[in-house]
Structure formats: structure tokens, C-alpha cells
């Protein structure tokens, strides 16, 4: 019989798999967005990344 820590580890693995699968699904959905919207998102992501860089220690 599995130890509680092993069971926990399996649950964590399963959860991680679920997250990765869902991220892949999101990628597919984003990739199908209209080109105009994707470009807008890309530039917005850059602006946000630049803003966040200001808070580096």
C-alpha cells in the first residue's frame, strides 16, 4: 500500500498534468484569435513586461 506521501505526490503530479494540459489548450485558443487582436496583445504584453521590470530589486 502507498504511503500518504506517495499518494500526495501522485496527486500533485496529476494536478500539474492538468495545468499543463489546460495551458496547451489556452495556447491553441490564443493562436486562433484574429491577427489584429494577437498583435495588440503582443505589444500590450511588452508594455506590461517593461512596467514590471521597474520593480526589479
Amino acid at each position: 500500500m502507498d504511503k500518504p506521501s506517495d499518494r500526495n505526490q501522485k496527486k500533485v503530479e496529476k494536478f500539474r498534468e492538468m495545468i499543463f494540459k489546460s495551458k496547451e489548450e489556452c495556447r491553441r485558443i490564443f493562436a486562433k484569435e484574429p491577427f489584429e487582436k494577437k498583435i495588440k496583445t503582443a505589444f500590450e504584453l511588452y508594455r506590461q513586461a517593461e512596467y514590471l521590470k521597474k520593480f526589479k530589486p
Binding site: R27, F30, A31, K38, I39, A42, L45, A49
Partner: protein
């Protein structure tokens, strides 16, 4: 953004750009999920006189229209645009074989994913490697075309090494 593409189309129609295509991150984003980018790369085939590449007509056109330069960019509206003259046969061929797509009301030319893969593989900075992986993971690549391009431009070994390292 639409303004950028309208300006480029006008330059193309007026013969200032012999041929052009959007490359880099923006072209990649056409095929993949969006990711952060700060500029638009335009690959263009510059006019030549006696095998000397002429860049002045294209800069003159933009500067006369009032567009300013910022570092290595030309600012069209608030978008930095980098005009990259094609320097290799691969880039030239990529521009010639580019596909036409619509951005709002404007028709623009975009590099095919197979040529983007080859160019990113050739340049291969960390950000190129990142885009290369996105394309290979998310886009239906025409494998026959890709292998044809890679072999004609002596990139098949580099591609095989890359595949072995990241997908092996």
C-alpha cells in the same frame, strides 16, 4: 498598427520597396499564440545599382513624410519599425515566397512559417530559438518545403542538431 502597414504598402506600390514581407515576431504571431514584442521587422529587397545596394530612396521617403528615427528604428505612429535589407539568398527567397494576408483593410505580405524556421535557425539568438520552438510546437509546417529550404541553404545539419537537442 494599421498605419504602419498602410505606409509600407504605399512604399511598395510606389516602387520604393522592390519587394517586402513582415518577418520576426509579428510574422510568427500570425501563426502562433501572441507573445511580447516591441517592434515590427520588415524584410525588404533593396534596389541595386551595379550590385551596390541603395538604401537612400527608402529613408528619404520616410523622413520626408516626417517619420523620425529612434535608435535603429523608424517610428511610424508609436510603433517602432525596423527595416531590414535582405542580406542572404535565404532571406531574399523568403520575401519572394511570402504570402499575402489581411490586417484590417490592408493586404500585407508575411513570411511563410517554413522560411521563418530557416531564418531563426540561421540567426539563432536565444530569442530566435524561442520563436523557432513556438513555430515547431504550434504550427502545421509543410515538412517537404521546410526540408527543401533547409537543404538548399545548408541548414539541414543545424536543424537536425537542434531537433536532437530539444526534441530528441
Amino acid at each position: 498598427m494599421e498605419r504602419v502597414f498602410k505606409v509600407i504598402k504605399k512604399m511598395y506600390q510606389e516602387g520604393i520597396l522592390k519587394d517586402y514581407a513582415v518577418g520576426g515576431a509579428v510574422a510568427t504571431i500570425y501563426y502562433t499564440e501572441p507573445f511580447a514584442t516591441k517592434d515590427i521587422d520588415i524584410f525588404f529587397i533593396p534596389p541595386e545599382e551595379d550590385e551596390i545596394i541603395i538604401l537612400t530612396p527608402f529613408y528619404d521617403f520616410l523622413l520626408k513624410k516626417g517619420y523620425k528615427t529612434y535608435k535603429e528604428y523608424i517610428m511610424i505612429g508609436d510603433t517602432p519599425v525596423q527595416f531590414i535589407p535582405t542580406a542572404t539568398l535565404l532571406e531574399k527567397e523568403a520575401v519572394e515566397k511570402a504570402i499575402s494576408v489581411k490586417y484590417k483593410s490592408v493586404d500585407i505580405k508575411i513570411l511563410r512559417p517554413e522560411y521563418l524556421v530557416a531564418i531563426f535557425l540561421k540567426v539563432f539568438r536565444p530569442k530566435d530559438r524561442d520563436k523557432l520552438i513556438r513555430l515547431l510546437d504550434q504550427v502545421k509546417i509543410d515538412k517537404a518545403l521546410l526540408h527543401d529550404v533547409l537543404s538548399r541553404h545548408n541548414l539541414d545539419k543545424k536543424f537536425n542538431d537542434f531537433m536532437e537537442k530539444y526534441y530528441g
